[in-house]
């Protein structure tokens, strides 16, 4: 089980990097959706025997994170007519460096944490912390609302990854509930993005601090 899970987490860490380094919104959305799909498949790989409930939730996760949410985001991008991040607060190279530093710190930190012996060899904890940090960097460092949403999704992927440690004791209902919240959240943000675009003629969140009549 561990090698294939580690492979997927490695893929997710690489996608964090791509999302941080890319200025084009479609590329960032694609990276986030592939990451969501990779992480969605993980419960199936982690279970030793087949469980229809786990499989159902995993497939549902893949569908929502891989197809529904990216579709909503792409539609918002098209409606708002934005293609790329122009001038982020934190430049692309510095944010790449921050993400890399965060990942190194996450690996170092997870060695110091008192983990269960069965989790010691897996990348779950460093991958989760690295994704959370990447999400924070994107949330803080980007100016366009849609990039910030992508940062939020990466952050959520990190938390989801952390939750997989407790997969045996958390009811999957909680997971399903989070997924529903996420979808509704993205749905609402899609509408808000459209409103911001109409009111301010731009998706730059810096302009939201300016009061207007």
């Amino acid at each position: 089980m561990t090698p294939s899970v580690n492979l997927l987490i490695g893929l997710a860490m690489g996608l964090n990097l791509l999302a941080l380094g890319s200025g084009r919104l479609p590329a960032v959305i694609r990276a986030v959706s592939i990451q969501g799909m990779a992480l969605g498949l993980m419960p199936i790989l982690m279970e030793t025997h087949f469980d229809w409930l786990v499989t159902l939730v995993a497939l549902f996760t893949v569908a929502v994170k891989g197809f529904v949410i990216p579709h909503l985001l792409r539609r918002a991008t098209r409606a708002a007519n934005v293609e790329r991040e122009n001038e982020p607060f934190i430049g692309f190279v510095p944010s790449l460096m921050l993400g890399a530093g965060g990942t190194i710190a996450a690996v170092a930190l997870s060695r110091a944490l008192p983990l269960l012996p069965e989790h010691a060899g897996s990348l779950l904890v460093p991958g989760a912390i690295a994704s959370v940090l990447t999400g924070f960097v994107m949330l803080i460092g980007r100016a366009k609302a849609i990039s910030q949403v992508c940062g939020y999704l990466i952050l959520e992927n990190g938390i989801y990854l952390f939750g997989l440690l407790l997969i045996k004791s958390t009811p999957l209902l909680v997971e399903a509930g989070i997924l529903l919240d996420l979808t509704v959240g993205i749905f609402v943000i899609g509408i808000i993005v459209d409103r911001i675009q109409r009111a301010f003629d731009s998706l730059d969140t810096r302009k939201l601090t300016v009061l207007r009549e």
Partner: protein
């Protein structure tokens, strides 16, 4: 018997290498809907260049000829360190991976040195660009090598490349592919077809060479491409435990896939602006670094 085997390996590398640029050009032509040059075009070019005479600048020292020759020999020596699946390498000893990295660096140094011999400012600019990109791509290559070394606990290329790279294999593959594109001056970094003065890198560097030295440089470049394609294939695929026939099939298939991949990248991507190239190289370096972290952490189990 051993001498015969080494000769066979040398001939294999020398003869097969010019095939790869031909395949790349064929893929590019096919994507663009053209018929394209024949796959063997580079062989014809090399034969034609070999028959021509050399134009030497009056300023140039013998280094102008010696540089490409030394670079060619260095790349050829590096190819002999790389194992061919279960057949092993012609030459293998503990720590040969360091020699491998240094031979590639020596090849680059000698090409740049020969280019600077004529004293042309334009060629100097090309060399400066090539060498400054190499700083980052070499760091990525060394990190990739370190990843393989940490994963297998060995510093010999034969044992390092026998298993796949474990959990970080996706990261390492992506990072090494970026390094391959940068080291061989392929599209997002440099355009091998362009002769537009302001954007040339590798082509600007070898502009003053002609005749046999140019043929040697071109052949060396194609060998380097084959070398990196094989390194990438062996790092990603676990060829060590396979039988001889299966391993040969996997290697040929892998190298062909990498070559076609390079052709597709060249067809779909435009060249990046100069200021964005370091960022792409940094991404490649970080991918290799993450693979190293994964190998380090995953190996602790």
């Amino acid at each position: 018997m051993i001498i015969l085997e080494i000769i066979l390996r040398l001939v294999l590398w020398l003869v097969l290498a010019p095939l790869l640029p031909g395949i790349i050009n064929k893929v590019k032509a096919w994507v663009a809907g053209r018929r394209g040059p024949p796959v063997l075009q580079l062989y014809y070019d090399l034969a034609r260049l070999w028959q021509k005479s050399v134009v030497m600048s009056t300023l140039a020292s013998p280094g102008f000829i010696a540089g490409p020759a030394v670079a060619w020999i260095a790349v050829l020596a590096a190819t002999q360190l790389l194992p061919l699946g279960p057949a092993g390498a012609a030459l293998s000893f503990r720590g040969d991976v360091l020699l491998f990295v240094y031979l590639l660096a020596l090849a680059r140094f000698c090409t740049a040195w020969a280019a600077l011999e004529t004293g042309s400012a334009f060629v100097g600019m090309g060399s400066a660009r090539e060498v400054s990109y190499a700083v980052l791509s070499e760091a990525a290559l060394i990190t990739a090598v370190l990843t393989l070394s940490v994963h297998t606990g060995s510093v010999t290329l034969v044992t390092m490349l026998a298993p796949a790279a474990g959990a970080g294999v996706v990261l390492l593959g992506a990072g090494l592919f970026t390094v391959l594109l940068a080291e061989n001056c392929r599209v997002p970094f440099d355009d091998p077809n362009t002769h537009l003065e302001l954007t040339m890198i590798h082509e600007a560097m070898i502009l003053d060479h002609s005749g046999p030295p140019l043929a040697v440089i071109l052949h060396g470049a194609s060998m380097k491409l084959l070398l990196f394609a094989l390194l990438l294939t062996e790092a990603v695929l676990p060829v060590g435990p396979l039988s001889a026939v299966a391993a040969a099939g996997a290697l040929v298939g892998g190298v062909l896939m990498v070559t076609v991949g390079v052709g597709l990248v060249e067809s779909w991507l435009a060249r990046f602006a100069f200021k964005r190239v370091p960022m792409l190289l940094t991404t490649g370096f970080l991918l290799c670094l993450f693979a190293l972290l994964v190998a380090w952490k995953g190996g602790a189990a």
